[in-house]
Symmetry: C2
Subunit: 334 residues, 2 copies
DNA sequence: TGCAAGCTCTTTAAGTGTGACCATTGTCTT
DNA sequence: AAGACAATGGTCACACTTAAAGAGCTTGCA
């Protein structure tokens, strides 16, 4: 690894001359500049980023802490983050909390000691249920944090949220009003998360407005969720629409409906949540709420970059990224 | 951010005393040690990692460069990498090449200037087709690289590969010998990748050994791959088994077979490639080749850590992670 | 003509936080 | 009194940036 010092020695000039020449400073003569840049190119000199970081106390690195990468929604968000950061010459250090509070805390501890300029985080399930926010509070005093999707309202930081309530409310209303469905079932495996609660609320409100009785099938930690769904459908043969609030159970329900020889979408409509492969693995292609994970990642990164690059501390913002109802083959209308 | 210098000032001792006290050096008196550690805890002192990195010229960070995170296989591998690195107190900087050679080069350029101690990479599609390996060669002179899955044989570095050939060979043989299938179709959307080529070879060999004619349906960049599959199945009604060599077309084929009113697995057996959600989105649960992405990530990380922590340069290894045939509902036997 | 002032180019020095290494001080033992 | 030893301090290096100082030249004006 060639350094400024070595270049300086070879050229018989001082280190600072080399440094300035390479940054094209007006203080340095054209002649010297040329000599320096030529040798630098020849020896393939690249400034050592660690030294630059120490000097400037900026790393151009963002810490991204997510519960999982196997969940395609988070994978998509992280992709959006990476793309945006890359466009601004920032790197990202990814930590996976595995939904564990302790792992999340450890990541924040490790990275907050100069390793990153800021954080983008979706809080772990355990953090949300235990509501332990100390690690966020201490870090946010010195380092900007942006939360997305899984958000803690009482942490003072910028946030990017999805309009969970509204989206599911609209989806439910659509099924009631446009497709005249009357017996709508909601399937959930995430009702202990804030996003899950919001989605269930949206469904419940739409149902109550239509004076229908809401029914929610919870699937947490079921060994065979598909069989639970199948049993439920058999025992409640009047179900004529299903809303799933995660990316997987909608497709599962679609397969189970086929098993009891009902037709989708004629007998039963289904709306699920989007993920990258949902249009490939379901037949007919499932109608979904598209959460715009990439956009969420993009927005989070932009928000953080704004905070990092503005000298005067900006006020924390909360941005809502609108989901989109994308109707395909498991609903009747387009 | 409190520093050694500040602690020293507050305690009226020198910086080096504080430094030694905190590293529990025997040179420092118990009394002083106690005073120092107490104040350090009180002020929540954490050594600045950037400074440590500059001093030691080690970052304890690994650069991970993958073509995509939306591909569940890579997401799984990255998860394995993160877990293993975390256990050794290493962090990871993730870059997504998006299958682009140029983006991959940029990532290597940026990170190889002191930012990371080593790399784990699955090479981009474009890199593999254009066979441009300069960025690997120049970096590998100073920084260890481990390649996984998508591997370049002529780059001198450690590798973690999947036994693609053998796995598909065995899967094909299983269908021929144990289930007496005679008209086996292979569906592929990755045949330009080295892994795809190997898998097709495995299938072809097994078919030729049984004196059956191999037939490969290629789906690259198809607008409606499902319809192509459907059409093929209609026109070739003698097909009695399907092997898919990616994570998605197997499930797609399963859905299409259902459409032509054939029974899986009685009329047609299907074997696909595993991914995290495949058992949830298919009905019956698809029989798969399980690629052990987590294990691959783990192995790659361990290999790299070995190289980083051994003083004498170790010889490059190539480790094969065995896939596993996991038979579920789309084949006849267990 | 003399010399201060100004200009261009370059070097010196200080600083970022840490830690290895060596030096210094003081106390105690023999 | 000298050596042993414990405790602490000082210096330098890591690679880079940058403010300030300095060197060497030209210019302008009395």
């Amino acid at each position: 690894m060639v350094t400024l010092k070595e270049l300086a020695k070879l050229l018989n000039v001082s280190v600072s001359t080399v440094s300035k020449a390479l940054s094209d400073s007006s203080e340095i003569g054209e002649n010297t500049k040329r000599r320096v840049t030529e040798l630098a190119n020849e020896l393939n000199y690249k400034p050592n980023r660690i030294a630059q970081q120490l000097k400037s106390s900026k790393t151009k690195v963002v810490g991204v802490v997510v519960p999982s990468l196997m969940n395609p929604f988070f994978a998509e968000v992280v992709h959006g983050i990476e793309t945006t950061l890359g466009n601004h010459n920032y790197d990202m250090t990814v930590c996976i909390s595995n939904e564990s509070l302790e792992k999340e805390q450890r990541s924040f501890d490790l990275l907050s000691t100069g390793s990153v300029d800021g954080f983008i985080v979706a809080v772990a399930r355990e953090t949300q249920t235990k509501h332990d926010i100390k690690h966020f509070e201490s870090v946010s005093r010195t380092t900007p944090i942006v939360m997305f999707d899984r958000v803690l309202n009482d942490v003072a930081c910028s946030k990017v949220v999805v309009d969970d309530f509204e989206t599911v409310y609209q989806a439910t209303k659509y099924l009631i009003q446009e497709e005249s469905r009357k017996h709508l079932l909601l399937i959930s495996n995430i009702e202990e998360l804030s996003v899950g609660k919001q989605r269930i609320k949206g469904y419940t409100k739409a149902m109550e407005e239509a004076t229908f009785k809401p029914s929610v099938l919870k699937l947490d930690d079921e060994l065979s969720p598909d069989e639970v769904i199948l049993k439920y459908l058999k025992e409640n043969s009047n179900i004529d629409a299903i809303i799933s609030i995660d990316h997987i159970t909608g497709i599962m329900a679609l397969n189970m409906v086929k098993k009891i020889d009902k037709d989708v979408p004629n007998d039963i409509s289904i709306i699920g949540f989007d993920y990258v492969d949902s249009k490939f693995v379901s037949s007919p292609k499932i109608s979904v709420v598209n959460q715009k994970g990439f956009k969420i990642g993009q927005t989070s990164a932009e928000l953080l970059l704004d905070e990092l690059n503005s000298k005067n501390r900006v006020k924390h913002k909360t941005i809502m990224v609108k989901s989109q109802l994308s109707l395909n083959g498991t609903t009747q209308k387009k």
